[in-house]
């Protein structure tokens, strides 16, 4: 990390004595100024709302402590307690990954893809199966975390589809609790339609399907969320999910330590949400990369449930290409005659701006 010149620090101090404290983490004056503005707004707001809590000290002391905590690397979203995500306000808490802006733009892109893909005969706003049956569009969001993708998808798709069913699954109990709170919070703020209360669900479960007793396997959960009228045999195999979206942990243990991962992320965000677990017993038999473990499982699930649209976030272009290779390998193994295509999409693709390092999404269509 390059040193900040003393002249910059002095200049910042003249503007506001709190700026040098924030500079320790923000590294640039303009972002420190922005963060100070947001922190100040929140401090004044908190002080006005609960004057008895801070009456002795006033909002200035509160602001100073906020800045000090921030300078130690605590993410701004954990201090403020929320993060805007699309038009929603997602609550953030220690122990759950903070929604990233890239995920936001991928979710918006995914919502557009879904409407284009499932509303082929324009004008209708309900999903009609090829057999002529009208039923809700069913979306599975694995590793949901704060529930941000599920909630934003509902907010974006609700005007276009009359019926939706979205299920978010995460291994962490804290995440499931927070996701449920986020649903309530955005309902209260009026950012989500009343339907979301019926149509969005969160459930604890393990995507990797490890047998560790207290977490149910994903198949069991999917079975419980399969509608009754579907259970009758002969209709279709699988559990009738249309879309699978996921932002799984995708950082390799090396890159968590080698300096490419920000200090604030490494120290304050849960490793569970960043790095896939190590103790997988089949690791020795196959040439798995540890950061790709989740994709093997997600793609297997996507083929097994014959999901029509799968959207997976990947950490980099190289990882994206590896995931495409996994898809190809899997389809050869299955030797199914289903036609499928796989695409890579990244932010700024339409403008041809080259961001080779940023994350991307893999879109699998069947």
């Amino acid at each position: 990390m390059p040193r900040i010149p003393t002249s910059t620090v002095i200049k910042a101090y003249r503007q506001n004595p709190l700026l040098p404290i924030l500079l320790q983490e923000c590294r640039s004056v303009s972002s420190a100024q922005n963060e100070l503005r947001w922190l100040r707004e929140r401090a004044i707001h908190a002080w006005k709302q609960w004057p008895w809590k801070y009456s002795a000290s006033g909002w200035k002391t509160l602001l100073r402590t906020m800045c000090k905590v921030r300078s130690k690397g605590m993410p701004l979203q954990y201090i403020l307690g929320d993060q805007p995500f699309g038009n929603l306000e997602i609550l953030c808490e220690k122990g759950v990954l903070i929604p990233r802006p890239e995920t936001e733009s991928y979710t918006i892109h995914a919502a557009e893809l879904i409407s284009r893909y499932f509303l082929a005969s324009g004008g209708q706003n309900e999903y009609v199966e090829p057999s002529g049956l009208i039923r809700p569009l069913r979306i599975l969001d694995l590793c949901t975390g704060t529930g941000c993708i599920s909630l934003l998808l509902h907010s974006l798709l609700a005007p276009r589809f009359q019926q939706l069913f979205i299920l978010g699954i995460d291994i962490s109990a804290a995440a499931i609790q927070l996701a449920t709170r986020n649903l309530d919070h955005n309902l209260q703020l009026g950012l989500l339609s009343d339907r979301s209360y019926r149509e969005v669900h969160f459930h604890q479960g393990d995507v990797l399907g490890r047998d560790n007793g207290h977490n149910p396997e994903i198949d069991e959960i999917l079975e419980t969320y399969t509608p009754r009228w579907r259970m009758s045999p002969g209709l279709r195999e699988g559990f009738d999910w249309d879309i699978l979206v996921s932002n799984p942990p995708y950082i390799s243990p090396n890159s968590l330590r080698d300096g490419t991962t920000a200090r604030s992320v490494r120290l304050f965000e849960p490793e569970l949400a960043l790095v896939p677990p190590a103790n997988m017993n089949y690791l020795s038999t196959m040439d798995y990369k540890r950061e790709d473990i989740f994709y093997h499982h997600l793609i297997a699930l996507s083929f097994k449930l014959s999901i029509r649209l799968t959207v997976l976030e990947c950490g980099s272009r190289q990882q994206g290409n590896r995931v495409i290779a996994i898809c190809k390998a899997f389809s050869i193994k299955l030797s199914e005659d289903h036609e499928w295509t796989v695409d890579i999409w990244f932010e700024g693709q339409t403008d041809h701006t080259d961001n080779k390092e940023g994350p991307c999404v893999i879109i699998l269509r069947k």
Binding site: C26, S30, N34, I98, P249, T260, V265, D351, P359
Partner: protein, 182 residues
């Protein structure tokens, strides 16, 4: 039959009863000012810029993003292709909100360029200027009246005082167009 009576009869009459006095009261209402309130002319509608003319950049610094880094920078930069105007907004933490703000800023700028004096912002600035000038005029008048009332006892100073205020009026109104311009 009974239901019909119940539905139409009593309710209808009560409605009618409540309505008539209400109308009377309206017609008898007294208004303090006799002239109709003078509303400003509606502003020209906001210019709509089509998305095809825009290039949107999410400014977030260099390096990898995603889970590895937790950026708080949500700045949005818009470039209007036909005119080349660049607008940036980092007012809020929300990207979509910033984009909205930037689009509005850009629409104002483009309109300024196209219509000049007739643009929305120019008209608004002009109105604000006029309002301020009339307000200043009123305050000056008020103090002049007060002073002249006091000064009725010794009339000698009155004329010189008036000259002074006239001079100050010029100095106040002159710089306002530059400061209000943007």
């Amino acid at each position: 039959m009974l239901r019909g009576l119940f539905h139409n009869g009593p309710f209808y009459t009560t409605l009618a009863l409540t309505r008539i006095p209400h109308r009377w009261s309206v017609s008898q209402q007294r208004v303090f000012s006799l002239s109709a309130p003078a509303h400003d002319k509606p502003l020209p509608p906001r210019l709509k810029i089509s998305d095809a003319d825009l290039t949107v950049y999410y400014l977030k610094g260099t390096g990898p993003g995603g889970q590895k880094i937790n950026k708080t920078n949500s700045a949005v930069q818009l470039i209007h292709k036909p005119t080349g105007i660049v607008v940036k907004s980092q007012a809020t933490r929300s990207r979509s909100q910033n984009e909205k703000i930037a689009k509005q800023l850009l629409a104002d700028r483009v309109e300024d360029l196209e219509k000049g004096d007739q643009s929305r912002t120019a008209i608004k600035a002009e109105r604000a200027k006029k309002k301020k000038a009339s307000k200043l005029k009123k305050t000056r008048k008020k103090y002049r009246d007060l002073e002249s009332k006091e000064g009725e006892h010794d009339e000698g100073d009155e004329h010189s005082e008036e000259d002074h205020t006239l001079q100050s009026e010029d100095t106040v109104t002159q710089p306002s167009p530059e400061t209000k311009g943007r």
